[in-house]
């Protein structure tokens, strides 16, 4: 499972980097979204994976017993997802406005408009 997720996030990173190296703004956003998903998977994987081991203290126990799924990485990911949702919503509007204003989807052409 670890290996599978590691490979999956590797693929997402590769695809994301490939996309942000394109000059088109739309691809740039898609690339960033893929990268942020890859980041979430890395956190998820590095937090340790345990199947069917919820972090619940047993009936007669006072503390958690060793193999349990750590809820904290999931809380981190949840926060990260919410934040990146907001940021990407803003970024999408930004490139739409940039496209309207400069009439191009190409980053290099946009920089020429500026000077």
């Amino acid at each position: 499972m670890h290996v599978l997720l590691a490979i999956l996030s590797g693929i997402l990173f590769a695809a994301g980097v490939w996309l942000i190296l394109r000059r088109s703004l739309a691809r740039l956003v898609l690339g960033l979204i893929l990268l942020s998903q890859a980041a979430n998977l890395v956190i998820f994987t590095s937090g340790g994976l345990h199947r069917a081991a919820p972090p619940i203290v047993g009936e007669n126990a006072t503390a958690l017993e060793a193999p349990y799924a750590d809820p904290l990485p999931q809380a981190l990911i949840l926060t990260a997802i919410v934040i990146s949702f907001g940021l990407f919503a803003f970024f999408l509007v930004l490139i739409k406005r940039a496209h309207q204003e400069t009439g191009t989807d190409d980053i290099d052409a946009m920089s020429e408009v500026e000077t």
Partner: protein, 504 residues
């Protein structure tokens, strides 16, 4: 619960919400904005007074004992940086009254300004790695909108680069935090410092250390991650650029200094020289970029990059004196830089553009502003008796004591180049005669300034220049204070004890 730590975050939040609710009236918004930032300034001063002898305050939010909940910690370094935030915030709020045009204010300039301040002081006060990430995002989203507010063409091109690079940096930061948690099981600074000191696992921890280095390096605009800064900082109005240059890159510097002096110290043989090389290259490339520019905002933006190198130099030398110098330098440069950008804003208002070749005659036209510019510029270049001299003097003394002669030579050379590029602005904009044909930029409606407006431009510049002079004249007590802050960074035991409630 100690209110003193939370106030620097709460007050900007309340001010931001207040200005948001009162957005129908610009006049009331200005009053709320000024009052709120004055309150912020007062709370920051109280915090510093409370901590000036080297105490540490910690608050467990929600009363969850550390390291399980989110901790807010203020040591002297944090308190100094919060005070810096408040000073920059107050002067920018004052300057904005005249300098920010009505449409921008209608579209929420003031709430954004205060939310940005909230994010920055949250980042300075938090004692938790993931919470630091959240404050970074609060700060970033406010800065994104401030950057595009106004909707000029150039702003979009600048903003796309700025947003992209910052999103990438945040992502690296997030991965670093995730990997670090996976290896140590904690994200609390104090707990991390303790656990890593007990049981360093260099191979694994180094991965996240380098991820943090790159992420914070991008935020701080360190070589080779600085290209976005001169490409985007010149597009918003000067008040916003002053705010960004004073605070955003400094948050990156703060995060680097905090993590690499308290947490990732197990491999100083590697990180020390690495920081020195990065510092040298940042200084040199920044200043060469600046010298080549012919536009005031771009020139000063390259100087932001170059000056970051000095703060990094202190971190690379890593002695108590060097860190003390780096902290003092960070305070100094944010203030001098903001003053310079305020002057640029004044020039832009006066002439409608800030292109050096087409400027001139400003000394005769506004001698007071010219003198203020000269004072701030000399301070930035590091001439006595201004704060820049003592900042660079301390760093260079620390470099010589640690026999790091190469970086000392680079620092001195870059200082000279800084002076050279400052005289370039002085000669072109202020000293030479105004060009025959006074072409103003069509985009700016009226270069004419009313007398009252003019003083609203000049007053914040006077305040900031006054601070840099006072920081220079009172260098001894301030350096003692930054020295104590550096001691706290080098010996995290009291910090850990204060946060965790015991020495585990």
């Amino acid at each position: 619960m100690n209110l003193l730590i939370v106030l620097p975050v709460l007050l900007p939040l309340l001010t931001g919400v207040g200005t948001l609710l009162l957005r129908s009236s610009t006049r009331i918004q200005h009053v709320v904005s000024i009052t709120g930032s004055a309150g912020f300034l007062a709370s920051a001063i109280l915090l510093l007074v409370r901590l000036r002898d080297g105490g540490i305050l910690a608050v467990q939010l929600g009363n969850w004992p550390a390291p399980f909940g989110i901790t807010f910690v203020a040591d002297l370094f944090s308190a100094l940086m919060v005070l810096l935030t408040a000073v920059i915030g107050f002067t920018v709020a004052l300057y904005s009254i005249a300098a920010i045009d009505l449409p921008r204010i209608r579209y929420g300039y003031h709430p954004l300004l205060h939310f940005l301040l909230m994010g920055v002081s949250g980042a300075f006060l938090t004692g938790d790695m993931f919470n630091l990430y959240v404050w970074f995002e609060v700060m970033l989203i406010a800065s994104f909108v401030l950057l595009v507010l106004g909707g000029e063409k150039a702003q979009f091109a600048g903003a796309v680069k700025y947003v992209t690079v910052n999103l990438l940096a945040s992502m690296l930061f997030l991965i670093g935090a995730g990997v670090l948690y996976g290896k140590t099981g904690t994200l609390n600074f104090a707990d991390l410092a303790f656990k890593l000191a007990q049981n360093p696992e260099p191979a694994l921890v180094n991965t996240s250390a380098i991820l943090f280095l790159v992420a914070f390096g991008i935020k701080a605009a360190v070589f080779p991650f600085f290209f976005w800064l001169p490409d985007s900082y010149h597009v918003p109005p000067a008040a916003v650029t002053a705010l960004f240059s004073g605070l955003l890159t400094k948050v990156g510097v703060y995060a680097l200094m905090r993590t690499f002096s308290m947490i990732f110290i197990h491999d100083m043989d590697f990180t020390g020289p690495l920081f020195l090389v990065l510092a040298g290259l940042t200084m040199v490339i920044g200043v060469f970029g600046a010298v080549a520019q012919g536009e005031m905002k771009r020139l000063l933006s390259f100087h932001i990059v170059s000056q970051i190198g000095y703060a990094l130099m202190g971190l690379g030398i890593f002695t108590q004196l060097a860190l003390s110098g780096a902290i003092y330098f960070t305070l100094h440069v944010a203030i001098a830089k903001a003053a310079l950008f305020f002057v640029v804003g004044y020039v832009a208002r006066r002439r409608g553009h800030t292109n050096l070749a087409r400027l001139g005659g400003l000394l005769r036209e506004s001698p007071l502003v010219a003198v203020l510019f000269l004072l701030a510029a000399l301070s930035l270049a590091g001439l006595p008796p201004f704060s820049g001299f003592f900042a660079k003097f301390t760093l260079i003394k620390a470099g010589l004591e640690a026999s790091q002669y190469a970086i000392v030579a680079v620092a001195l050379l870059v200082s000279m180049m800084t002076l050279f590029s400052m005289t370039k602005i002085w000669n072109e904009a202020f000293w030479k005669d105004a060009p025959e044909r006074m072409d103003t930029d069509a985009r700016v409606p009226a270069p004419y300034l009313q007398a009252g407006d003019k003083w609203l431009y000049i007053l914040p510049i006077i305040l900031l220049v006054g601070i840099t002079i006072v920081m220079g004249l009172a260098a001894e007590p301030i350096l003692q204070m930054t020295g104590r802050a550096a001691e706290q960074l080098l010996d995290p035991a009291p910090y850990i004890r204060q946060v965790l409630g015991r020495m585990p």
